[in-house]
Assembly symmetry: C2
Homo-oligomer: 316 residues x 2
């Protein structure tokens, strides 16, 4: 007897503050979402509970669950399924894939959050149709998914893409990571807020600071410095990797033209003998990691073909 | 009747000052070398003449020529076989592969010089056994071959790996490329000599300047600045690409411990939360480009298998 319920996967984007879960059908539709705060301890147990509740909800919705996927931050060995290090989860060497496989009765996939988001942007988002691009989500911190010739760069130890921690100002401000002058000291939600307060501004969020541009000289100054450092960092990526397009995501990218106009102008000023790649905003935004986890889950379930179809029709 | 002469390829590393040619047998042995100065004009004709002379010499040596390969500088579209731009050859959009195919009666391969050198170091040089490494030749200028998961990064337009032109000092000294503060302004044979002379030193070559280290405060200072900038640049590569090993080549690397000891110390100081990759000197040195061209030629001739054997036995 065949099962004519539609096949679906359970996908979770695990972050330092929230676990964003969803049920995604084989047709690329998100039929339910379930987001919970990430607890201070026992994250693995909370994640498993979230998957179980998603599974129950999928059954109610008459979906046949064929796989599960999780996108996790940190340094991730995707082959072994181990999170080697994740500062905002206080994890070291957590064999997450094995833990999930034991708890769930469907095939499970584990991916790095930013690389999973890059995969999603490539298949159904702002990087459709290119094999060479960079996704740079700028939120509290900064990371990057680097895609060359269609492959996501993971590196020798799974630690590639640490764009937020490349040294931009030798001997500069101390970063939370322990290094000095990292890009994200200047270009991140947390960095912008801290630098604005240090420069004499009120304690505001980065979104509020962006709202004051043009009317508040301190806001203008720290923003301009952030744009300078980001332009220099993106030019470094451009000269090293020669991407076709740079996709900006995260809270910073919501500044829109206040970011894109000065940023692209300064990138062009810095490049003398080569074209600047296109710079665009993410299409999937905060959903990219979760959609990437769903894509990985369909692959783990042996159904990579359905994702190829989403790609063809541009389902998001 | 079978032809029992040994099969060989003709390989040329085309540079701004010299065209270094060789005949390389299927057993990985270089049986003859022929180097000529690169002419100021008609480079393609001179290159073809060199290939013809190499062919004649191969016949004298009783080698059966089955292919030819050239490694060329600049921005190279390897798929179409076109050199899009090469400043030191004054080339723009030169369809080199077609020109060579028309002139030579064997299969021809064209590759980017530094990427070809990276291929050679990976198969039979200092990067044997790793899929994630960076080759950084530092001569008159600086470039890089970036290898991730076994593939050389070429980028969307063939312009990847321009490590010498990443911005290291915002608003810094003007580079010959037209940009300001590029890495190779500080870290290159030409840059070191110019900075030494500007700082009041005699007009010396970079090799002579290195020879004065410890006895000449001006030499010590410009060298120290170069090492600082290089450490910062290699840490940027490390954080982005997570290589297993960084291979240094070119004239600069001949400084040996005077380079490697302070360089690795400063790289380690700059990295807080991850290990520094190994940093080693190139094993193939100035021959790497030519050996890479030979490897590409054997592949073009459908004999990639012989190169796999060199790799297994470590022939150089």
């Amino acid at each position: 007897m065949s099962d004519d319920r539609s096949a679906a996967v359970l996908a979770v984007d695990l972050g330092g503050t929230a676990m964003k879960g969803a049920i995604v059908t084989e047709f690329g539709r998100t039929v339910a979402e379930l987001t919970r705060p990430t607890p201070a301890s026992d994250v693995v147990a909370a994640l498993i509970a979230l998957f179980h509740d998603l599974h129950a909800r999928a059954t109610e919705l008459d979906c046949r669950v064929i796989g599960a996927g999780v996108a996790t931050p940190g340094i991730v060995d995707e082959e072994r399924g181990v999170v080697l290090y994740a500062s905002n989860l206080d994890w070291r060497d957590v064999p997450l894939l094995d833990a999930l496989r034991e708890a769930l009765d469907v095939p499970v996939a584990l991916g790095h959050d930013v690389r999973a988001a890059g995969l999603a942007e490539r298949l159904i988002g702002a990087a459709r149709g290119t094999d060479d691009f960079v996704l740079v989500p700028i939120g509290t911190g900064v990371a990057a998914a680097l895609v060359t010739a269609g492959d996501i760069v993971t590196g020798a130890t799974g630690a590639a893409g640490e764009f937020g921690h490349i040294p931009m100002v030798p001997g500069g401000e101390l970063c939370t990571c322990g290094q000095r002058g990292c890009l994200e000291v200047y270009v991140s939600g947390a960095g912008l807020a801290r630098r604005y307060a240090t420069a004499g501004g009120d304690p505001l969020s980065s979104r509020e600071i962006v709202g004051r541009l043009g009317a508040d000289p301190v806001a203008d100054r720290v923003w301009s410095e952030a744009v300078d450092v980001l332009a220099q960092g993106l030019n470094t990526l451009t000269l090293l990797l020669d991407p076709d397009v740079i996709v900006l995501g995260g809270g910073f990218s919501r500044a829109g033209d206040a970011l894109l106009v000065p940023l692209t102008a300064r990138m062009s000023e810095g490049l003398a003998w080569r074209e600047r790649p296109r710079v665009v905003r993410s299409e999937l935004g905060g959903d990219a990691g979760r959609i990437g986890a769903a894509i990985l889950a369909f692959r783990a379930a042996g159904r990579g073909d359905v994702v190829a179809e989403w790609s063809a029709v541009g389902v998001a």
